[in-house]
Symmetry: C2
Subunit: 194 residues, 2 copies
């Protein structure tokens, strides 16, 4: 017999929500539907997620954590050369972004008032990763020195923008690899030490 308490309802709901998000998008995501899938009553999720938005916020927060994981995994599987590391990070970012388009949109869309701090904090992890990568490039002399803040933001923005254009069907997915290459090359040329 299934116990009265679910045990780890929150985790189950988050996993089911992430799957539903990938399949049907954020608009179609329903707390009641998730409750039905988990085999609990439609009011059970209320303890973990007071309303729909808090579930979406939790998904966004977890999304940044997973993005950070995948970026780090891609970097540890790559050699020490700066150019290839940058390329690996960019490719990993866009793989994540195009496979979980709806999640990505959720991560970068405000609509957040209450949990905004937590999401921004979660975003700091992958952002800091790119920041460190740029610092490495500057240290090795591949990039011109200077405040890596603006440069890192521009790099991050370029990757995010490419993902948006692809996910929005404004550019054909077949062009993705070529565009990433162009972006990385152009970034390195534009930041190269004179």
């Amino acid at each position: 017999m299934s116990p009265y308490h679910h045990g780890n309802l929150r985790t189950t709901l988050l996993a089911a929500a992430e799957r539903s998000l990938r399949q049907h998008g954020a608009d179609q995501l329903s707390l009641r539907e998730l409750a039905r899938e988990a085999g609990v009553s439609h009011a059970a999720p209320r303890r973990h997620f007071p309303d729909r938005q808090s579930l979406l916020d939790a998904l966004a927060e977890a999304g940044f954590a997973r993005l950070d994981q995948e970026l780090r995994a891609a970097l540890t599987a790559t050699g020490p050369e700066f150019g290839s590391r940058l390329h690996a990070a960019a490719a990993a970012y866009l793989r994540f972004a195009t496979e979980d388009a709806a999640l990505l949109e959720l991560m970068f869309t405000r609509k957040h008032r209450k949990e905004a701090d937590r999401i921004v904090a979660a975003a700091a992890a992958p952002f800091g990763l790119l920041h460190d990568l740029i610092a490495q490039g500057q240290k090795e002399g591949a990039l011109q020195p200077g405040d890596p803040q603006h440069v890192g933001i521009v790099l991050f923005a370029t990757l995010q923008g490419i993902a948006t254009l692809i996910n929005g069907s404004l550019v054909a997915p077949e062009l993705l690899d070529g565009i990433v290459e162009t972006a990385v090359d152009q970034f390195m040329r534009g930041s190269r030490r004179p």
Copy 2:
């Protein structure tokens, strides 16, 4: 006496929707609320917009048209020098993007199945504008020659990504001007003819 027919309900609804979008976001946009504001019954909008999504699609399409207008206006108010034209276009894009954050998100979010073609077609106008701008830069020798397709996409993506980061509160709005300058400078350095 108010006439039975509203007269130009579609235009009225679109205008009210654009205002509501700016004030309360896309999620809060309600067909019934718009109908109430326009003084018509709750099902009247159905003739013009069969469902909620078609209204949002029409908003996105109109958004691209307005973006194109504002970009062209910014360019005609700028001298012939390539660098300043590029800077003006970037600034105009980000002004539009940050003032109408919710509209921008709508413009680049798929969720489109039926009206996707019209929206992509509407997006071609501002995109072609940047395309022409790059072609001008290549002709003048400021940029290295080559297929402006990838380069234009990367430029567009960078601007769009910066807007996403600002609108998502992931970077402080005060940094906007500096970031735009960094992005434009870096773009020109990265594309400069060797």
